[in-house]
């Protein structure tokens, strides 16, 4: 279909996205586009609808109207696991790892193979899996903790483990919800280093409050306010936008 075809091939095209909870529009007619290999940061005051946008993209929340196109595939009609299989990975705000499993097992579950019931019954822990798990474990600074149960990790280590679990999925679009929240200064620096390494060859959508961190990594910033886009552009542009200064940075 040529009518309405995007002139440029966006990885993610969100258009007219609206979700209302009992009449309250948490996200209201939102449109934005993410290019291949772009790092986009979403900022905005509390209740602006940032997390809801990620929930909508990954299928956790169903859109009331609008469309989310990922590589030309309509995501609003897919189930969560199908969206993951299409290549979208999501990290939650609070670290959600499997505490009763070891670091190795956590990463292994995220390895993109044997995702059906019978596939997982016949799944073999072969050298490819082991190598990949060890490779990722090294990246997330947990190489010597492979046999540790995840409930014994620190908060920061759990965050890294979850990032590792996303990494092993090898998604084309990585969505991170406040990846450095609650981390110590040294953990924060390590995480920034980790993120800078893993964002190569993929697009990333990040929600973050830490402005220094945003400035470091963002290609483009989208400012949300009351479910709508207030401003969009480079960090420099956004910082100098009077509307943004009024509702967000000025406080």
């Amino acid at each position: 279909m040529l009518v309405g075809h995007q002139p440029k091939d966006f990885l993610l095209a969100v258009s007219g996205l609206t979700v209302s909870f009992d009449g309250f529009k948490a996200v209201n007619d939102l449109s934005f586009y993410v290019e291949e290999n772009e790092i986009r940061v979403i900022i905005g005051p509390n209740g602006a609808g940032k997390t809801t946008v990620l929930d909508l993209i990954c299928g956790k929340t169903r859109a009331t109207s609008g469309s989310i196109q990922f590589r030309g595939q309509e995501l609003t009609k897919l189930r969560e696991n199908e969206i993951v299989q299409a290549g979208v990975g999501r990290k939650f705000q609070t670290p959600s790892v499997f505490e009763d499993l070891t670091v190795f097992e956590n990463l292994e579950i995220s390895f993109p193979r044997g995702r059906t019931v019978f596939g997982s019954l016949t799944f073999q822990r072969d050298d490819t899996v082991k190598q990949r798990v060890e490779e990722v474990a090294e990246m997330i600074f947990l190489k010597d903790r492979l046999n540790t149960y995840a409930d014994q990790l620190s908060h920061g280590q759990k965050q890294w483990l979850e990032i590792g679990m996303l990494l092993i999925q090898d998604p084309d679009l990585l969505m991170l919800d406040e990846p450095v929240a609650g981390m110590s200064v040294s953990e924060r620096a390590k995480t920034a280093e980790l993120l800078n390494r893993i964002i190569k060859d993929r697009s990333v959508l990040v929600i973050e409050h830490d402005m220094k961190f945003v400035e470091d990594i963002a290609h483009k910033v989208t400012v949300l306010h009351q479910g709508q886009i207030l401003s969009e552009g480079t960090m420099e542009h956004v910082k100098n936008d009077p509307k943004v200064i009024e509702v967000y940075l000025g406080h």
């Binding site: 990954c58 956790k60 189930r79 969560e80 696991n81 993951v84 299989q85 990975g89 999501r90 939650f92 959600s96 790892v97 499997f98 505490e99 009763d100 499993l101 070891t102 190795f104 097992e105 956590n106 292994e108 579950i109 995220s110 993109p112 044997g114 995702r115 059906t116 019931v117 997982s120 019954l121 016949t122 799944f123 822990r125 046999n147 979850e162 679990m165 999925q169």
Partner: protein, 377 residues
């Protein structure tokens, strides 16, 4: 590296201890009446193994396992009843060749769903397939709609109640409240003799070990780890690319099949099947056996079924009114004090002591040989 053996050391010990108990000690020390009672207790161990997978690992509490126990048991009972209702045996009925209770209820021909149970192979298949299919439908209806936790438990309980009412109400087709009684032969072999009971006991124990191995196999695959993962972080599993509903359906179906095998063996051991093993109370009792034994341990479930039923028999022989209160109190005590049941007590309190004892003995004997003392393990 993570343990890659099928059983670790303590599981292997548990396996051997159970094998020695069930294959040697009990058959050699008990008379046939008591051995048959043990066989009856063990039929609940099958249900327990299923509950360990489904509830302990997958976090899906089903309060309706009696449904599947009953379906397995009724499938077997229908076959045995048809065999016992040959034309020669039932020539005094107004319609010879159909089960006696059908004749009493003015049925003049065998209902269509009874006909396949003339065949022994079909019956064996039905014992596995009918409950699995039933669980598949319930599971798909519930889990695809994200019904879980307490709501799921209540619905399974309602299904147990409905099935009981259905069986009791449709007397002509099911034998009603009395169930299907007066069962005599299995494929021409009289199951009522002491010798048959002895053989059946061993058949059941072999099947039980088959189920233990099957459950252990499932537990050790990636599917087993996904069940654990799902129990604590359902969303993370979903966002790792898995269809959580399908895994829950699988666990529920597997538990149903294990329960059905137990039910079929129950019919053979006890010689009848009735709705009193299908409803709410037996279903909850099955959960209690598993909780007492330890819902995270396959062997614990077997011990739980054996010990609680043993206590039930001995206590209800002497204090018939008190038993139900005792069972309730036991359940509350276990849940409050020992959430992992007997196997948890073993793993947390007894096993470490044995290990320490062994280690100190080993280091003493090793000290005599090597000056450095014992190795770390």
């Amino acid at each position: 590296m993570i343990n890659s053996r099928f059983f670790n050391r303590s599981e292997l010990l548990g396996f051997l201890a159970l094998a020695v108990l069930l294959f040697l000690i009990l058959p050699l020390s008990l008379d046939i009446f008591r051995l048959n009672l043990v066989a009856k207790y063990l039929t609940y161990a099958f249900v327990g193994i299923g509950l360990v997978l489904c509830w302990g690992y997958g976090g899906i509490l089903s309060l309706g396992q009696g449904v599947f126990f009953g379906l397995g048991g009724y499938c077997m009972a229908m076959y045995l009843k048809l065999e016992a209702s040959s034309v020669a045996n039932t020539k005094i009925q107004s319609t010879p060749g159909i089960p006696d209770f059908m004749d009493w209820n003015q049925l003049t021909s065998l209902p269509f769903f009874w006909k396949p149970f003339h065949s022994f192979p079909v019956t064996l298949l039905a014992i596995l397939v009918v409950p699995a299919f039933f669980a598949l439908i319930i599971g798909a209806a519930m889990f695809k709609r994200r019904v879980g936790g307490v709501y799921f438990a209540i619905i399974t309980q309602a299904i147990a109640a409905i099935l009981t009412i259905l069986i009791v109400g449709q007397q002509g087709y099911t034998g009603g409240i009395n169930g299907i009684t007066d069962l005599r032969t299995l494929h021409g072999w009289d199951i009522r003799t002491d010798h048959a009971k002895f053989i059946l006991y061993f058949v059941e124990v072999v099947l039980l070990f088959g189920c233990i191995v099957a459950a252990q196999f499932i537990r050790l695959t990636k599917l087993g780890r996904i069940l654990v993962a799902m129990r604590e972080q359902e969303d993370r599993v979903r966002f790792s690319g898995y269809s959580v509903a399908n895994f829950k359906i699988f666990a529920f179906c597997a538990a149903a099949v294990f329960a059905a095998i137990g039910g079929a063996m129950f019919t053979l051991e006890v010689g009848f099947m009735s709705p009193s093993f299908v409803g709410i109370v037996p279903s909850i009792e099955m959960v209690i056996y598993t909780a007492v034994g330890g819902r995270m341990s396959i062997f614990g479930a077997v011990w739980g079924a054996l010990l609680v039923n043993f206590a039930k028999t001995s206590l209800s022989e002497s204090f018939p009114q008190l038993w139900l209160f005792g069972l309730g109190a036991l359940f509350i005590a276990v849940v409050l004090a020992f959430p992992n049941g007997l196997s948890g007590i073993w793993a947390d309190h007894i096993q470490p002591r044995i290990d320490r004892l062994l280690a100190s003995r080993k280091s003493k004997s090793a000290a005599g040989l090597i000056a450095d003392g014992a190795p770390a393990e």
